[in-house]
Structures are given as C-alpha cells and as structure tokens.
Amino acid sequence: MHDHHDHDHDHPFQPDHDAGPATPYEVLELALRELLIEKGILTNAEIAGHIDKMATRNAALGAKVVARAWLDPAFKRHLVDDTRAALMSMDIDIGDLAEYRVVENTPDVHNVIVCTLCSCYPKLLLGYPPSWYKSVTYRSRTVREPRAVLKEFGVDVPDSTEVRVHDSTADLRYIVLPMRPSGTEGWSEEQLATTVSRDSMIGTALPKPA
C-alpha cells in the first residue's frame, strides 16, 4: 500500500452547485430586486418575510377545510359548488392568481390531481408541492397509468371505483376532498384535521385511519 501524503494523482473535483457564474435570470432577479428596494417600493425585510411565509406554509389549512366539510354538509356542498366563496366564508382569500376547485372522493370516484404541463398546485391550502409532484415521472405517468402510480403510493383502488385524473391545464388548481375515515364519529374538527394528510388532498393517499 503506497503512501498517500504526497498526492500525485487527482481526486475528482465536485464544485458547489451554486459556485458558478450567475445565470442571466439570476442577474435579472438581483437587478430587479435591488432596484425595487432602492426605489423604496419594497424592503429587504418584506421580501425575506414573504419568502419565509411561503416556505413555512404547510397543508394544515387544507386539512382544516376538509375537516369542516366533513362536519358540515352545507359547507361541503358550497365548497364543491363555489370553492372560492366557501373558502372566503372561512376568511381564506385565495387572491387573484388562480381559481381553486374541490373535487370530492366518493365510494364511486377516486380523484387524483396532476399538472402535466408544469406543476400547478393549490399552494395556499397545501404549501409548496413535494418534489415528486413536480417530477417528469409523476406528471407523465399519472395521466397514463394512474392505478399503477397510486399502487406505488400504497393506494389500491378497486375496479368498481372510477379513478378520475384531473390535469390542471388552465388557471384552476384542484384539491381532493377525501372520504372521512370510519371510526371518527363524534370527533371534533381539530381531531378530524389530524387524519388529513397533504397527499390525501392530492389523491395519492387516503386519510389516516382513526
């Protein structure tokens, strides 16, 4: 075994992924940001604060909406018929970037959401999408072989139930209203919300059993 202290062979060098020169878009973003701050339109704190707010958002708000729908049939109807207005009644303002639509799972229909063109996602209710949702694999396979994809997620839909795939090709973001798990009779809204995972509102999971 030879002595490694006098290196005369190279180790492969792996540069840091952000050590290279800035891309044109990074330069553009930086220039625009500096200009907006210089002109007093935004402050650094406002920008950082908004980034933090978006980054820490999770699926809790979505879970709360689902739990309320499980407890209140009139609210559930409103949520499916006019999602924006129903959310507004909970003081959830989805803003003007996109419309939201809730699709309801029943014993006859299991819904699953995908965006084949990009990665449209109801961030206001679910937070940022997971990497797999944005992957070419999920986006291309879910429209083509949804049952195989669902099985890989651990969801086995019987042939007697329709698998309905929603491809968000326009400015409408979809959220699945999963079926309420059995054994939750008498549960409060807060308790019910704990069974609602992010994935159950995408359609790639079922709510956690009681």
């Binding site: 429209v143 949804p146 329709e162 491809d167 968000s168 090709t169 326009a170 409408l172």
Partner: protein
C-alpha cells in the same frame, strides 16, 4: 382569472368535442397527448383571458370560455389496463375545441 367575454359559450354541457391538433408557435396549454382526441364537456368553467397571449404580455382579450372536458382512458390509451369507467379530465380553452365529427 375569470374575466369578461363578448361571446357566449360555443359549447354546452354534454357536448362531444374534439381537441384541435395544430402545432402552435410559443406558449400553449393544450398538452400534446390530448390533441386530435374527442371528449365530453362536463363543466363550463367561465371566461378567462387567453394564456397564449398573456404569456407575451398581450391582454388576451376577448376572454375565452374554458371547458372541463372528460376523456375515457380506455379510448385515450391503446393499452390502458384499468376499467372502462376510468376518466381523465382537462381544462381546455374554447379556441382549441370544435364539435366532434359525427360518425
């Protein structure tokens, strides 16, 4: 965002429609796999500004009616292995739709 349109919707719920198979230049929201295929209108989603114009900072008016169109998976994919009841739904702008040819 749902916006004003000067034209009433061309299609109604239940209409069979065919997605155009043109190859546009630039941004579009009609995926390749659905072009030339026939489905059924299941929801009229409202009127929206044309995304193919908005992408290039054009106003995208007059707004286009957006339709949710349902396709049968068994018809869409030659080797689909799921049951015939399985469906795929996409939101498609009116300028990509024409009445389905009657056989």
């Amino acid at each position: 965002m749902s916006a004003e349109t000067s034209r009433p919707p061309k299609f109604r719920l239940g209409d069979h429609v065919r997605v155009d198979d043109r190859e546009p230049l630039g941004h579009c929201r009609a995926p390749h796999f659905i072009r030339g295929r026939t489905g059924t209108v299941v929801t009229i989603q409202g009127a929206f500004r044309d995304p193919e114009r908005l992408a290039y900072h054009r106003p995208g008016l007059p707004a286009l009616t957006l339709y949710k169109v349902r396709f049968d998976q068994c018809v869409l994919w030659p080797d689909y292995s799921g049951p015939e009841r399985d469906r795929l739904e996409l939101d498609i702008y009116e300028n990509w739709l024409e009445p389905a040819p009657t056989t």
